[in-house]
Symmetry: C2
Subunit: 249 residues, 2 copies
């Protein structure tokens, strides 16, 4: 993978035969859409366009648009969108391109992880205006956007380290987190689409009557401080009270 610095588009040319084959066999390309920030050159700095953790996702979007143009039938998922720009890019593409949104990015902004290793993940959470765009997309009812948890169970020792492991652990409570924010904006009617239907539809996974279902109920749940021993995993919003619980039927 190399950067074409003139266009800002990363060159994936060596993978084009693979993408072509994926398109023919109807496989999905899942992208972590970030241009890895390298230490900027003096020239970059002078032009004020050095890539940082805050701009890494936005810098990748021309590449997404370019790949979609070259392989319009290839199904692509831009995983864990964190910016308004990413939402706009997914919207600008045809129905073969979708974006996932995590539970934690519906809560976090840059202030949430500045000084809190358990809220640090990649892509990093961005600005309040970006979070608002994610919320709007998630609750829009547009099937191009669905839940992708990107839950990362790093042991505490990896989070409280000189180099913080990137990732937020949401898995045990992921439905509760999402339900709470959907309820807050009065959009529980679109919860099932975002969490359970649009993703399946995109992946073309058929529902089965044998699977059972989950039901969200209004019941206070306190998030565990840590899960597992001796070097357990600290879940997102550890110690906080959640408003919803899950029942399996």
């Amino acid at each position: 993978m190399t950067t074409n610095s003139d266009s800002g588009v990363l060159s994936y040319e060596q993978y084009y035969p693979v993408f072509k084959a994926m398109e023919e066999h109807d496989l999905i390309l899942n992208l972590h859409g970030e241009v890895p920030p390298a230490p900027p050159t003096d020239q970059d700095i002078a032009k004020q366009n050095a890539t940082t953790v805050l701009t890494a996702e936005k810098s990748f979007l021309p590449t997404l648009l370019d790949l979609h143009k070259r392989f319009p039938k290839l199904r692509i998922i831009l995983e864990h969108c964190t910016t308004a720009a990413a939402i706009d890019a997914v919207l600008a593409c045809g129905p073969t391109v979708a974006g996932t949104i995590t539970a934690h990015h519906l809560y976090l902004t840059i202030d949430s992880w500045a000084g809190d290793p358990f809220n640090f993940c990649k892509p990093v959470a961005k600005f309040p205006s970006d979070r608002l765009a994610l919320m709007s997309a998630a609750t829009s009812g547009n099937p191009k956007f669905f839940l992708g948890s990107d839950s990362a169970p790093h042991p505490q020792s990896r989070k409280l380290a000189k180099k913080t492991a990137a990732g937020v652990f949401t898995q045990p409570y992921v439905m509760q987190y999402v339900t709470e924010v959907f309820n807050r904006v009065g959009r529980l009617d679109r919860l099932a689409g975002f969490c359970a239907e649009f993703g399946r539809a995109f992946y073309r996974v058929e529902t089965s009557a044998e699977e059972g279902e989950i039901v969200m109920i209004r019941r206070v749940v306190t998030v565990k401080d840590v899960i597992g021993e001796p070097d357990g995993v600290v879940p997102f919003r550890a110690g906080e009270r959640l408003e919803w619980d899950v029942i399996w039927k």
Copy 2:
């Protein structure tokens, strides 16, 4: 302290009699110039002007300019500038206003503290373009800018914690760090002014022949991994090799 949301200026009106007395008695007002980021309101987010750790310093600058206008003879130091905007604000004021710059902010950007608790401090390091502005100001020879270390010796346990203590520990090597970056841009001729002369002049501290002096020499020094026991302090650039050492004369 209250915010006047129309003008964006924090109201320090209750302290005006104090500032007036300070001005008369020729005392210096030292400011940590940040508007503390509060959880933004929905309206803030919609207007995309919610204050975050990245905009907290910039949001304070109208207040600095306002105080300077009201008390033009009051000597004010805007401590630990981290943005190009802060540098511009200090330059826009008269000679009674100065700004300090830390050693670590000559190195760090947002990417340095994303995932590294030992590089996390307040104000947080900003963008490469801001670091460039700090470097330009520090090496400009303008006596309005001088070294303020803001060195913070937090024990390791406070840095590797759920809530990361804010601060970078530079004290044992502060002259070495600054010398290295001044040398990198070919400005050792302006090192003494920034580190030893402009600050004294602003504070009106006279030099004394009895004080002795320090001399920087080219000699490799390896930064200690940790200083003190059992819960020691990790210095900035721990384990790295520095190019300069200090001799006391």
